[in-house]
């Protein structure tokens, strides 16, 4: 019968889909295992120099020793905290400045070329200046993180404000809304998705700022461990720190992603 045929067809379709999904996951895990296994074997048989290239088993040893004295938590914690403060302040300050630009078209037009130039400038180039002005403290690192994310925030959020539906604004105007009411009732709420996606970009950008800041300040954090390990030729420490950094970065990104999904569901 036709109906039974169709459902069988659908089963085949679902089956195909499942097989594809499993094989993607399998390939991903395989690459992961193969990479570390090859690395370990190559170092073990001295195809590569473990002093320069390090080795997974040495990384694990390093992790254990860093865990036993608790320093791994200290350094990771510091880096994560600096990044969070950096991207939150970058996003909040950037949004406030975007509000000012939205409020006054004149200010927006005047500042436009400056924003374009600042956006193009690699913010890490400002590192040494900030170090001299603020000093070798955590504040310098946070300012670095803020600077790397603020310009992108201003530009993106301002764009979102400007692309708010004109008829929605007209609706509010006919109801007699003030500019502040237009901002709070329609422009800001309709830009929330854009602000969240800026937040996502800012996690990565702030992390760049924080790591460069830690390179320069050289006191604590994963960036400090990496630069210190490089200077004293402890490649195990460098590789370990980089791997932890990768995990921390992924976790932070995933949390913002989760927040975004959660917020989108509410809308």
């Amino acid at each position: 019968m036709y109906k039974v045929e169709a459902s069988k067809e659908h089963q085949v379709y679902l089956q195909k889909h499942k097989i594809r999904k499993t094989s993607i996951a399998f390939s991903q895990i395989s690459i992961f295992i193969a990479f570390f296994a090859l690395w370990e074997i190559a170092a073990y048989f001295k195809w590569i120099d473990p002093f320069i290239m390090s080795q997974p088993s040495r990384v694990i040893k390093t992790v254990i020793s860093l865990t036993s004295d608790g320093s791994i938590f200290l350094h990771t914690g510091i880096t994560v905290l600096e990044t969070i403060i950096g991207f939150l302040s970058g996003t909040i300050l950037g949004t406030i400045i975007a509000i000012i630009l939205w409020w006054s078209d004149f200010v927006a037009k005047v500042l436009d070329p400056y924003l374009v130039v600042l956006n193009a400038l690699p913010k890490t180039a400002l590192g040494p200046i900030i170090l001299v002005w603020i000093g070798g403290t955590t504040s310098s690192i946070i300012v670095m993180a803020l600077l790397t994310s603020i310009i992108v925030t201003i530009l993106n959020v301002y764009l979102a404000f400007k692309s708010c539906d004109e008829d929605k604004v007209k609706l509010l105007t006919t109801l007699g809304a003030t500019k502040l009411q237009i901002l709070s009732k329609v422009v800001l709420p309709s830009s929330i998705p854009a602000i969240i996606s800026v937040l996502k970009i800012n996690v990565g950008l702030s992390l760049v700022g924080v790591i460069v800041g830690e390179f320069l300040v050289s006191r604590a954090g994963l960036g400090y461990l990496i630069i210190y390990g490089g200077q004293v030729f402890k490649m195990d420490l460098v590789m370990t720190s980089v791997l932890i950094l990768a995990i921390a970065a992924a976790l932070m990104y995933l949390s913002v992603n989760w927040l975004e999904k959660k917020l989108n569901k509410m809308r």
Binding site: D167, T174, L175, R267
Partner: protein, 256 residues
């Protein structure tokens, strides 16, 4: 109560942009009487929306004057409610929160006004959807919710700018009937802009035909239809319907 709720006297409106000056309305005079439903038809781009914006006070005329309830229009006022082409319900607000938007903005959200909005929602079939989000409602229901948002501030005059044109034909017929009934029940004066001649004939007591831009009044038709119940859908059966339709169609002089 004044008999003429809107008086438009020798109004002209020019727009200025860098690419030039556009004369949208030229020396237009028009009166709207209390409680009537008037349709405005005219070629697209002739200045219909501009005329509504002037009445609502969000634009100021270049010359001439507009009185609402005998007073010159100085800006948006709660006497006039404006309904746009799309419903423009806010996706992040529930239906009841959307409906009370105007009250919130005008700082008139009290227990009584809230109760009035709830009453309107109950009365017009949205009782079970108060705490739903707009995307959970059908197009027709959303349009009704938009009308209730307009009615919430209790305006005397409703301006409707092609309010049904985003809907498909069937929904459009049904919702224009419903909205017409609501407007009559709430005893509002309504000015309806539409490009649908049969909708204009079915819904209104008077039809104002505008010329090409710059808009002037070309003709005004008083509509008398013989039907038992004067509602938009049943009026389409009236023998005079076609007669009005053809006359206005000829006046609009559409060339494709």
């Amino acid at each position: 109560m004044v008999d003429k709720v809107v008086e438009i006297k020798n109004v002209s409106m020019n727009y200025h942009t860098l690419s030039g000056e556009t004369q949208a309305i030229r020396n237009l005079s028009l009166d709207i009487n209390n409680g009537e439903t008037v349709s405005i038809v005219g070629p697209s781009g002739c200045g219909k929306s501009t005329l509504l914006s002037l009445i609502s006070g969000i634009l100021k005329p270049t010359s001439g004057s507009i009185l609402v309830n005998g007073e010159p229009v100085a800006g948006p006022s709660s006497n006039v409610g404006y309904m746009l082409q799309k419903d423009h319900l806010f996706g992040w607000r529930t239906i009841i929160k959307n409906a009370t938007l105007g009250l919130e903005i005008q700082k008139k959200l009290t227990k009584e006004s809230q109760a009035y909005v709830e009453h309107l929602l109950d009365e017009y079939g949205l009782a079970d959807f108060k705490h739903h989000y707009p995307k959970q409602l059908s197009g027709g229901m959303r349009q009704r919710a938009a009308l209730i948002r307009t009615l919430a501030t209790n305006p005397d005059i409703l301006l409707l700018d092609e309010p049904f044109s985003a809907l498909d034909y069937q929904t459009r017929l049904a919702i224009s009937e419903e909205i017409w009934l609501i407007i009559k029940k709430e005893r509002k004066t309504a000015i309806l802009v539409t490009h649908d001649i049969s909708e204009a004939v079915a819904c209104s007591e008077r039809i104002i035909v505008l010329t090409n831009r710059p808009a002037e009044v070309k003709n005004i038709h008083e509509i008398f239809l013989t039907c038992d119940k004067r509602t938009p859908i049943s009026c389409r059966e009236a023998p005079e319907f076609r007669h009005y339709f053809n006359k206005i169609w000829k006046e609009l002089d559409v060339h494709v």
